[in-house]
Amino acid sequence: MAPDAKIVVRDVAKTFRTARGAVKALEGISFEVRESEFVALVGPSGCGKSTLLNMLAGFDRPDTGEAVVDGRPVLVPSRKGVLITQRGSVFPWMTVERNLGFGVDGLPEAEQDRLCRHYIELVGLQGFENAYPHELSGGMLQRVEVARALMAKPEVLYMDEPFAALDALTRLRMREELLRILQRERHTCILVTHDVEEALHLADRILVISPRPGRIQRTVEVDVPHPRRLSSIRLVALRELVLAELGVTSYPEPSAHGAAAMPASVPGQQKVTSGSNGNGLHGLPSPLLDAKKTPIGTESS
């Protein structure tokens, strides 16, 4: 274990019992997250990535192995690690301000007010302090969600497809907002998503999870400084790499250009534990020639 590991997941496995028998959701999952690192878990639906996040946040327990945060196994949820999901859990019977205050009940009122003003400003909700959630848009609600989580001064932010329910434009804006917030207040973050672009936009490192039972199939370092331009050659190459790893793209011929573009892309490369797709590394295309694969409308940065 690295000395600066904030989160250590060690050999975690989980099996669910259903009416149709046991379903192995996760198997042999091990990884570490450093303090202030942003890690994205990317995988197909049903690969157990949300289960993994629930375990880290204390809402579920692994059958074997353990999830350790700051040297202690996580057994129950606590405000040390706050989970944000796409379903949203902003309390509809409270104003925005009261929602923000919910997680910091123990603090003196003056301190609560100060924090509240700070985070309202940070997420850009000035003027909506006394609004009720049903008066807000989906994007604004997710801002409240993020602000309420940050109010509690968590050490880790767990995000389970936090922006999946939003429209495409709002989703993109929320990513930029999140990066801006994290620049001002650095947190350790783990993001679960099946949106490869979102992962590439936000994360320092991407763990590609295999289909059930979920295992870490590959680790991809996103060694691109912020602000990131998703249409940059580097990110397009990484995107193709992750998509190929997920088995959703297949290219007939190995490309010399693609191979040339790749070498530095996966430092600390892990061995591919599941050979489920036939392409592996060799099926990578040339991002230079394959201009139509460049995501459109993501050139905001």
Binding site: S78, R79, V82, T85, S89, W93
Partner: protein, 249 residues
């Protein structure tokens, strides 16, 4: 309020009154709307009307609040703990279909003729709708709210007070609204047999003591108006900011 919003309702009321009037013409016993209006005036002048109204409202208030005080905690436990639900629900579902009116003989046997009997019947009438609505409201509280609260370290009674109760409150209020409607139905029936005051007694007394059907119908009209007012109060509750999210805006 714009006239187009309440004019249709007024129109329907006017048609009903007109039908009543036509059917009352020529009858020696069935009173016309005018006669009933005069009877109400007479009751107001002598002060008997307010006396009976207060008596009825007093019983409803006590029985209703007593039922809420017991039904909301019990329903909450049933909604939250499956064991409580399995243990208590069969008894609730068997007692619930028994009309409170059927309890009148037992109420008189146990509590005699006095305020206690109708109050007990109102308690019964209100208790079951509120228990059932509270249990289902608490049971259906969306898990993401409970999880978020636990994430912030909120547990136990604080979790109930700050999350579960407010999340279930829209359902509870719907149950309270149904309960109050039934309570108002039942108090009149109870007063006809179990006591000698209240609007129910006014009606039965007017008939027995001299076939004063103008007073009978006056009592009915007053009961209707008060029921309308009570429902308006409950609807005000449904418009509170704390529960509006559930009913749509």
């Amino acid at each position: 309020m714009r006239p187009s919003r309440f004019l249709p309702a007024l129109g329907i009321l006017a048609v009903l009154v007109a039908l009543w009037w036509v059917s009352a013409i020529g009858s020696m016993i069935f009173p016309t709307p005018l006669a009933v209006l005069k009877a109400i005036g007479e009751l107001l002048r002598t002060g008997t009307l307010m006396q009976h109204v207060y008596a009825s409202l007093f019983r409803v208030t006590i029985g209703y609040l007593g039922a809420l005080a017991l039904a909301i905690p019990l329903g909450s436990m049933m909604g939250w703990f499956p064991r409580w639900f399995r243990a208590i629900n069969p008894a609730v579902q068997m007692l619930r279909p028994i009309s409170p009116i059927a309890w009148i003989p037992l109420a008189i046997l146990w509590f005699g003729v006095g305020d206690a009997s109708p109050t007990f019947l109102i308690f019964l009438a209100t208790f079951f709708p509120v228990v059932v609505a509270t249990a289902s409201g608490v049971h259906m509280v969306e898990q993401q709210y409970v999880r978020a609260a636990r994430n912030f370290g909120v547990n136990g009674f604080t979790l109930y007070r700050r999350v579960i109760f407010p999340a279930a409150l829209p359902n509870i209020i719907t149950g309270m609204r149904v309960g109050l409607g039934v309570a108002w139905l039942v108090v009149v029936a109870a007063e006809m047999v179990a006591i000698n005051s209240g609007l129910g007694y006014l009606i039965i007394d007017a008939r027995n003591a001299g076939s004063r059907y103008d007073l009978v119908v006056a009592g009915m009209v007053i009961i209707g108006l008060i029921g309308f007012g009570l429902d308006g109060v409950m609807r005000k509750l449904e418009h509170l900011e704390e529960v509006r999210w559930r009913y749509g805006t």
